[in-house]
């Protein structure tokens, strides 16, 4: 067997190899990851970074363009746009994070249990997921708001439900594939309980996929939450929030002061694209080499 022991243990990569890999096309996901990380940091450290109180009105500096005092200008009540963008990152990210977390956890639990148990339970879960999948998240959220009233909490609850299939459907089919692998049969034969096989073996192997799906859907949920606030059903003024800022700045566009809508919209678009690119980068890296 000596001839068969020449395979080196994993993990002995040279840093040089990493640098080359970066140059060979991992630059995009790394840049995307950096953008996402920076936005998250901005949200966390908004009080330190923001030059002004986000809600401080200044009647003497209304609707200004960018200047040394206000880098990104001011809005129609003289509030500093940069400060509002920084503070606005908090609700703009927190709600999508909660949604992604809930949909990710519940979706994975549903998916794995359905794939494992099969039978009528799987059929009911799948039918439910297909049904929910048919509704765009925003429509569900608006219906929720119509019934229970406006507010970010309604958006979080309804969008968590709406994004459930986005995670669960993909994870379920991966779990079905995983379950059919001989190692799962072997573990069953060895007498391990289904619960243990699911938690200790299926789940860790499915986690990269969950992460990929969650990353991508984080971007889309943020877009939905922003849209929900944009139409006035989410975050309420005067709280700074990106979707709300796009809406607030809308009259300014006609008046030739597009700064508020422009910058807030730009931040949303960049963040969604970054999540998408990061998701597909992770997918290539985590799922490509794993099989």
């Amino acid at each position: 067997m000596s001839a068969y022991q020449s395979v080196p243990a994993a993990g002995g990569r040279l840093p040089l190899g990493r640098v080359r890999a970066l140059a060979r096309g991992q630059g995009v996901p790394i840049a995307a990851g950096t953008v996402v990380a920076l936005v998250v940091l901005a949200a966390v450290f908004a009080p330190l970074l923001a030059p002004y109180d986000p809600n401080a009105v200044d009647p003497l500096a209304v609707s200004q363009g960018s200047s040394a005092a206000h880098w990104l200008g001011t809005d129609d009540t003289g509030r500093d746009i940069l400060s509002r963008l920084l503070y606005g990152a908090r609700p703009s990210l927190l709600a999508p994070a909660l949604i992604t977390l809930t949909a990710g956890l519940a979706g994975t639990a549903l998916a794995v249990s359905a794939a494992w148990l099969g039978g009528w339970y799987d059929r009911v879960v799948s039918a439910f997921l297909d049904l929910v999948f048919g509704f765009p998240g925003l429509v569900l959220a608006v219906v929720g708001a119509a019934v229970f009233g406006a507010g970010l909490d309604i958006a979080v609850i309804t969008l968590s439900l709406a994004y459930l299939p986005y995670i669960a459907r993909v994870v379920r089919s991966a779990a079905l594939r995983e379950r059919a692998l001989p190692y799962v049969s072997a573990l069953g034969l060895l007498g391990l309980s289904g619960r243990r096989i699911c938690l200790r073996h299926l789940l860790p192997n499915l986690l990269p996929l969950v992460l990929v799906q969650a990353t991508t859907s984080f971007g889309y949920t943020m877009l939905d939450v922003a849209a929900f606030s944009f139409i006035g059903l989410g975050t309420q003024p005067p709280t700074a929030e990106w979707g709300l800022m796009v809406a607030n700045g809308a009259p300014g566009i006609i008046a030739g002061q597009p700064e508020q809508s422009l910058y807030a919209g730009l931040v949303i678009v960049v963040f969604v694209i970054a999540c998408n690119l990061l998701g597909s980068g992770l997918s290539r890296r985590l799922l490509g080499e794993d099989r």
């Binding site: 067997m1 395979v7 243990a9 190692y183 049969s185 034969l189 060895l190 391990l192 309980s193």
Partner: protein, 267 residues
């Protein structure tokens, strides 16, 4: 095949499996005495894997029964506690060494997890027994700490065998367990299986389409064709004087290697 009187480790009778109208396995009966070794051979699609999976309880037979020491194997949907009680009766090693192990579990952990489930061993005693089992199949301590992806196919198959042997099964089903490996590694695994059998009274059901290695492990052979067992007997005598025309065809299609059938006046 088993001695009359001695209780069979495995007794399968009238096994039948259909997929829709297609009959994959028809009226297969097998019996293994403790420590016996039976080869199940046949061309691709002859129903060997289906038979093995029914014996291991991974597939519900359309008809027929599988008994270990007289106990009937519960179905695939039986409660895990019930199924688990059969772990010591039958284990299976699968054809694909690359999918037989959890790719996120270190080799030693995959053994100790099973040991911890079936024995009272904990802590250092558990680690010692794990190392012992891995040593027995010729794996080093370094390999024990690595993930499956750092191992070759032959080494992974050794891990799968060690894991199966860890529960001291009465019957070990090996479904093309060496088919994916190259010839020199096959020989190592075959040697390993022979050694393991000398140390316990585990009975082997050795499934293969490669007649070349059969006589090195199995005293008895059963030939499958289109879902049925068409011939059975002592390995050497079947290989030398096949009764069925199909068996002869099967033998003739194997490149001469481990054995040389003596025919007619030769030597």
């Amino acid at each position: 095949m088993a001695d009359a009187g001695a209780p069979a480790a495995l007794e399968a009778a009238g096994l039948r499996k259909t997929y829709g109208d297609f009959v994959a396995v028809e009226d297969v009966g097998l019996s293994l005495a403790p420590g016996a070794s039976l080869a199940l051979v046949g061309e691709s699609g002859s129903g060997k894997t289906t038979t093995a999976r029914m014996i291991a309880g991974l597939e519900a037979p359309t008809a027929g029964t599988v008994r270990f020491d007289g106990r009937v194997l519960p179905g695939r949907r039986a409660r895990t506690a019930v199924r688990g009680s059969f772990a010591g009766d039958v284990q299976m090693v699968f054809q694909d060494p690359y999918a037989s192990l959890d790719r996120h579990q270190r080799v030693a952990d995959s053994i100790s997890e099973v040991l911890a489930h079936h024995t009272d061993l904990r802590g250092s005693a558990l680690a010692r027994r794990t190392a012992e089992l891995l040593d027995q199949v010729g794996l080093t301590a370094g390999q024990a700490r690595s993930l499956p992806r750092a191992l070759s196919g032959g080494q992974r198959q050794r891990v799968a065998i060690a894991r199966a042997v860890a529960v001291r099964p009465r019957v070990l089903v090996l479904d093309e367990a060496v088919a994916a490996l190259d010839v020199s590694v096959q020989a190592q695994i075959v040697t390993l299986l022979r050694e393991l059998r000398e140390q316990s009274d585990t009975a082997y059901l050795f499934i293969t389409h490669d007649l070349g290695i059969v006589q090195h492990i199995c005293e008895d052979i059963a030939v499958m064709h289109r879902g049925r067992i068409i011939e059975r007997g002592r390995t050497l005598s079947v290989l030398e004087r096949p009764g069925a025309a199909y068996t002869r065809k099967l033998i003739d299609s194997v490149p001469r290697r481990g054995w040389t059938p003596k025919r007619g006046a030769t030597a």
